[in-house]
Amino acid sequence: MLVRQKNSPYLEDEELARLYQERQDTRILGLLFKRYLHEVLGNCMYFLKNQHDSEDASMEIFEQLTSSLKKNSAPDNFRNWLFIVTKNHCLKRLRKQIKERSEDFSEINTNLFVENDDLDALIIEQRIERLSHAIEDLKEEQKKCIILFYLQNKSYKEIEEVTPYSLNDVKSFIQNGRRNLKVKLS
């Protein structure tokens, strides 16, 4: 049987990006994007903390690339640039979700969703990024309940149904998790 050689013929990322700009052929961008799809998906999951949202976000990022690479010059380091695009996209998505639950989030940090001239979008997204990292540091049961309650909009009862915890446990984990987040974000 034929055996694949070690030095397989590949083009550099930047060369592929340039070819995409030259030919405007989305299939070329598809090849490039798929090189890092595992990292894009993994980072989406890290920020959004949900597989299905992350699948959608990954595809949205691909779509976003098709237009942004057409308009702008190819980045010097595609992987690093893609990571920034991914992070920003996820933070925007999270911001929307948080906005929908602004009342609940005010218990953690009143500044997470406030938009005015003094607090621009960039600062809010930086805070959301901190929140995302802070959630990761919570104890497992607190993390699970906080994500379900705040990011997936589930009620106490629904959380009780999808986790092994009792209703009282759920309430307690959310309360403790909220308190811990408040401390971390203050």
């Binding site: 013929p9 299939r27 598809g30 994007f33 798929k34 799809l37 595992h38 993994g42 980072n43 989406c44």
Partner: protein, 246 residues
């Protein structure tokens, strides 16, 4: 597609999948991008694992790339995923167990993608552009993205008609897309002038599958008997197939 870049940090897809199976805390040397991506894997809720999820997304990207967005949307349904996986696993076995095995498309049961064995030191004929075409085509081929690979491989072969190695993979891509007549032509050329004995053996097998799909049964049977007698890598498969088409 899985790819290891030498000048940038990060894991290839294979390494990433392996690391995610081993747990997210095992990669202390990973950079921030990889580290966060691995930590993100804790939110994976599919039973089939990250590999299948990435393959599904690959398909979506391919689909979106050719502006045909609806084809893969059915894969969102878990029930359909399970059903499709079961069918894919059981189909070849089912056919082989049937006393009167006459599928309309033999390559459905027997076709296998063969990764390209062409190293990065090919012919320099045709200049830089056509070499780029070859590299692009083979990467798409290795991605099993035959729709992208076929036109690129054709452009390359038009400029380098004597490159029988590339023609062989062109044949597989064509067969993968069920373009049987063109695949027959490609494999026949490789069988006539094979670049090596390995390619000859492989080309004969794929040509036999193509002939069966084209219902050219006598030629296919003759070729399968030759493969069977040569006692090579495809002998057992040829034997089973010969019994099945009696």
């Amino acid at each position: 597609m899985p790819r290891k870049t030498e000048h940038k940090q990060g894991l290839s897809r294979e390494e990433f999948v392996k690391a995610s199976h081993n747990g997210t805390k095992t990669n202390s040397s990973a950079d921030k991008i990889t580290h966060q991506a691995l930590r993100g894997m804790q939110y994976l809720d599919t039973e089939n694992g990250v590999e299948q999820l990435l393959t599904r997304l690959d398909h979506k990207i391919d689909s979106q790339s050719v502006k045909n967005r609806n084809i893969y949307s059915i894969w969102r349904s878990p029930a359909l995923k399970v059903a499709a996986a079961a069918v894919l696993l059981l189909l070849p076995a089912y056919y082989l167990l049937q006393p009167n095995f006459h599928p309309s498309n033999y390559s459905t049961a027997y076709f296998e993608h063969l990764p390209s064995a062409i190293p990065n030191t090919g012919t320099k004929k045709g200049g830089e552009n056509i070499q780029t075409e070859k590299v692009l085509a083979l990467e798409a081929y290795n991605n099993k993205d035959y729709q992208t690979a076929i036109p690129s491989l054709k452009r390359y072969l038009d400029q380098n008609p004597k490159d029988q190695e590339v023609r062989f993979y062109y044949g597989i891509a064509l067969l993968g897309q069920e373009k049987h007549k063109a695949a027959k032509d490609a494999f026949s050329q490789v069988v006539t002038r094979p670049p090596s004995a390995d390619y000859l053996e492989n080309a004969k097998w794929y040509l036999a599958l193509t002939l069966l799909d084209l219902k050219e049964m006598d030629q296919a049977r003759h070729l399968l008997m030759t493969i069977q007698q040569e006692k090579g890598a495809y002998t057992n498969k040829a034997e089973k197939l010969l019994k099945a088409i009696k």
